[in-house]
Amino acid sequence: MVPWLAGIVPFGLVIGVSAAQAHIPTLAGWLSGPLIYAGSSQLATIGMLDGGAAPVVVVASALIINIRLIFYSATMARYWRGTPRWWRLVAAYLIVDPSVAVGLDGYQRLSRDRAHAYYFGGAVLLWVCWLAAIGAGAMAGASLPGWLHLEFVIPLYLVGQALSRLANPAQRRAVLAAATVALLALSAPLQLGVALAIAAGLTAGLTAQVRR
């Protein structure tokens, strides 16, 4: 889990900064951590609320981004059959990209009981570090001077993340289509542009996969 922490802590700081600089209560931005608990979805939620998007559009966009959690849920379900219900309820809450990756590693190497503990320990550590990073970012973001232009950290972070996901033609099409539609739909009402852009990216990417 430690290598993952090095990657997620800066992301948590970015989200904390965005929460502090958005026109929403900072506590609400921080609460997106324990409630939504998925970075890209939190960032979209905070950004769209800051932009004045309609509530239903924000929730729909957050859930579209989090649809991958259904697949993670299916992946982990096979290992968690027979565990107590309370354990599954808590373990499911902790499902997110790094905890699933670390958990799967544990289930492939360890006995079932030890792997449960391995998943749970890593996932709780991740959760604590994530919330601490968002809190630190929120406090720093509210007190740092304006000339630092910290509001620009978020678009730059997103540029980096988008460009690092160009591994195959489907992803390249998805990125290109989503960015293009986002720019074309800047003046769309209710901040629908981002949701439309994500849908366009998915469609373009799926079309590429079908043609191959």
Binding site: Y37, I70, I95, G201
Partner: protein, 106 residues
């Protein structure tokens, strides 16, 4: 008030996603198209948010005002493509923004 409701609703929906297949897995199988789409959500979402974020940062600044943020984005793009590291976008982009802003005060 709606801010809190939105965050709670998005959180509740996300938790139901996490729990969904753990409860339903014995009764349902995943459609292949949905499975393919899952690998494309993150690239599409990051690209959409990045483009909208950069446009918002440059909006209303005019050509001169937008020079610094656009230069920073260009430097970030080159840095990420050359290094392969997403962190390079911030490490190169932010100093570029500060220098470009200092060189071209609005």
């Amino acid at each position: 008030m709606s801010t809190w409701i939105v965050i709670v609703a998005a959180g509740l929906g996300s938790y139901l996603f996490r729990l969904s297949m753990i409860i339903l897995t014995s009764r349902l199988t995943m459609p292949p198209s949905l499975e393919r789409a899952s690998g494309l959500v993150a690239p599409a979402a990051f690209a959409a948010l990045a483009a909208a974020g950069v446009a918002a940062a440059c909006g209303g600044l005019g050509i001169t005002g937008a020079f610094a943020p656009l230069t920073a984005v260009a430097a970030a793009v080159i840095a990420v493509l050359r290094t392969g590291s997403p962190q390079a976008a911030i490490l190169v982009g932010m100093p570029t923004l500060w220098v470009a802003t200092a060189l071209l005060p609005s």
